[in-house]
């Protein structure tokens, strides 16, 4: 023995790998337990993140679909007299001189690429609320004395709409029929009642040919609206042909609050183009008079809902990461701690602390990667099955799939190191007696 320092012991990387593989093979039960624990943690992590992104994408898609398929054109300063744009449109059922849009606005907009349907609508400002009436009085003004018998407010809103609006708003009746070009051309006082409005008016079906009194004019109910693809408030409203509204009460008056607008239903993805082209299509001479807007309220609501859901889901995902990591750490520690004696023995025969750490890291990385990959696959399967079940498109961030096995392996390695450090710091003779090996 020389007095000078002895040459340090060493552990070649290939030896560390060989020792790790031998240790894993020597105790398959322990290795399987570690892999299963790790894979469960990774499954939880990936499934939660995947379900989060899938649900978020679904919420976003729902709102995007609704937002991108409806545009509304308004005229902030409706034309009157000489400023009107529709003075030339004096056809059958055509609006009067104060009408803010050309008579053929629907055809002009339909000609635009991307436009599926378009139609004019406005809410009527009436002195009296609409109420149910006897069907035999349809189209006639009742005796003046009757008006005083009704409450002044509280009836369903009445909307004047062109047949094009019904198509643009995707109005579908649950009973009866909608009004069409024939009713529009003849200004027939026939109306559609929303499902909720029908309930409030006491109309349960069309068998008894119900009618409604609108500002002392009796209108026959020809259909009950059961579904609408735009504002759900239509279900609480009464719709009648715009030509009939003009014939009975004149064109919409901007000063009275009854501002006419055009609803355009478009193909998804064409919103920008249609919004730019629509004012020119309506009035090539005065496009600046028209304002095109995507309904703002659903946009804000959508963003709010999306943001709230995302925050909730991310909280869950982080919770999943913590719980998954703790599960992995617990399983790893259970696997490493009983090996204190083995580590003590290895140190007694020349291993340094770093050699013990290297072996634990190698073993943990192998088991962690295997478990992490298995868990990631299982997590992806869970997301796909859940999405299939809900008829959603499964969405998983590529980073999630890439990082999950690495995160799992890192959790295993970290937990393994934490577990082995105390064993490596205690004198080998004492760890040997902690758990006798043989």
């Amino acid at each position: 023995m020389s007095r000078r320092a002895v040459k340090a012991t060493r552990l070649a990387p290939s030896d560390a790998l060989g020792e790790a593989v031998s240790s894993i093979i020597a105790r398959p039960g322990r290795a399987i337990l570690a892999c299963v624990g790790t894979s469960l943690g990774a499954t939880w992590f990936v499934a939660l993140l995947g379900l989060t992104s899938t649900a978020s994408a679904q919420v976003a898609a729902d709102f995007t679909t609704r937002l991108a398929t409806a545009l509304v054109v308004t005229r902030p300063q409706p034309g009157g007299g000489s400023r009107g744009v529709a003075t030339q449109g004096q056809q059958d059922g055509a609006p009067g001189p104060n009408y803010p849009y050309p008579a053929n606005v629907q055809q002009r907009l339909d000609a635009l690429p991307g436009v599926l349907a378009a139609g004019v609508f406005w809410q009527l400002t009436l002195g009296e609320p609409a109420r149910a009436a006897e069907p035999s009085l349809a189209g006639r003004r009742p005796a003046p004395g009757l008006a005083g018998d009704h409450p002044a407010a509280g009836g369903p809103p009445v909307i004047a709409a062109s047949p094009g609006f019904l198509a643009a708003a995707r109005v579908k009746v649950s009973a009866g029929r909608t009004f069409g070009t024939w009713d529009q051309a003849r200004a027939v006082p026939a109306c559609l009642v929303g499902e909720l409005a029908a309930k409030s008016l006491g109309i349960s079906g069309l068998r008894r040919r119900p009618a409604i009194l609108i500002n002392q004019v009796t209108c026959v109910v020809i259909g009950i609206i059961g579904h609408v693809g735009w504002r759900q408030s239509i279900l609480r409203s009464v719709l009648l042909p715009s030509s009939a509204a003009i014939a009975l009460w004149g064109p919409p008056d901007g000063l009275a609050g009854a501002r006419a607008a055009v609803l355009i239903r478009i193909r998804p993805g064409t919103a920008a183009v249609v919004a730019r082209e629509a004012p020119y299509a309506i009035s090539p001479a005065r496009p600046r008079q028209f304002l095109v807007s995507v309904p703002p309220a659903p946009l804000r609501l959508g963003e709010l809902v999306d943001a709230t859901l995302s925050a909730e889901f991310w909280l869950l995902a982080w919770l999943g990461l913590v719980i998954g990591g703790l599960a992995i750490a617990a399983v790893t520690m259970i696997g490493v701690l009983p090996r204190a004696a083995e580590f003590g023995l290895r140190r007694a025969v020349g291993a340094r602390r770093r050699h013990i750490a290297a072996q634990v890291v190698t073993e943990s990385a192998i088991l962690g990667l295997i478990g992490g990959l298995a868990g990631t696959s299982l997590g992806v399967a869970v997301v796909v099955i859940a999405a299939y079940w809900r008829n959603w498109a499964p969405v998983i961030e590529p980073k999630t799939v890439l990082y999950a096995p690495l995160v799992a392996a890192a959790a295993v390695v970290l937990a393994g190191l934490l577990a082995c450090v105390p064993c490596a710091w205690i004198a080998p003779a004492r760890t040997l007696n902690m758990f006798g090996i043989e």
Partner: protein, 237 residues
């Protein structure tokens, strides 16, 4: 307390006022011992007297709670993990009282375990481990998993593991326990041969043959005290 010639040889082990873990830290509990290169020392004493604890301290797998331990002139209290591991791996062969083997691995793997850390190539490791197993008479059981070996065979594997790296300081803790008398005699002969090869050997044993060949016979009392002045020394060979 020293024989002729012994004083001239370099001191391998020097214990000065050492207190073993769990022993009384005062008076007779203080240990003093000097072992020179190439000595054969036998330790005797009843169960619980601290033979194993003393070998653990000398083998650098445990630390004394007080006192100084100079190994080859180096103060071991100042040695870090790197140097202690280096001494344990390259210069010290320690056979524990219990075999302390990896139960799921073969006798060959267990014997070659210390060689993993001394940087020997795989083939040389295998050759050295097989040679060590051959010396204890277990060459035929090299590939047998430890769990399938008898208690006596496991003890032999533990001895082979201590011999495998060819250390200069060998520490054996009751190497012949649970061995057949014939096997025990063969093992003691083997250890004596290793000693004759130049190694410094400490054996905790009651074996008379070993005691007869030892240069120092140290007796420990039951309560882990160290009657240094009562130590019996035979004349050096």
């Amino acid at each position: 307390m020293t024989g002729p010639g012994r004083i001239d040889r370099p001191r391998v082990i020097e214990l000065r006022g050492v207190v073993l873990r769990g022993a009384r830290p005062r008076g007779a509990g203080l240990l003093d011992l000097t072992v020179t290169r190439g000595e054969l020392v036998t330790l005797t004493g009843p169960v619980g007297s601290g033979k194993s604890a003393l070998l653990h301290v000398i083998g650098l797998v445990d630390r004394p709670t007080a006192g100084r331990y100079l190994l080859n002139g180096l103060d071991t209290t100042k040695l870090g993990d790197r140097d202690r591991a280096a001494w344990r791996g390259r210069q010290i062969g320690l056979q524990f009282q219990r075999p302390q083997l990896l139960p799921q691995r073969s006798a060959l793997d267990n014997t070659a375990l210390p060689l993993r850390y001394v940087g020997l190539p795989r083939r040389q490791r295998r050759a050295a481990a097989l040679a060590a197993l051959d010396r204890v008479g277990l060459a035929d059981e090299a590939q047998v998993v430890i769990a399938h070996l008898s208690a006596a065979e496991r003890r032999l594997v533990a001895i082979a593991r201590a011999l495998a790296p060819g250390p200069s300081l060998l520490l054996f803790d009751d190497p012949t326990a649970s061995l057949h008398p014939a096997t025990a005699a063969r093992i003691i002969s083997l250890l004596l041969a290793v000693h004759r090869g130049g190694a410094t050997v400490l054996i905790a044993t009651d074996d008379q043959l070993a005691a007869a060949h030892s240069s120092q016979r140290v007796t420990l009392a039951r309560d882990a005290t160290w009657p240094a002045h009562d130590a019996e020394f035979s004349a050096p060979r």
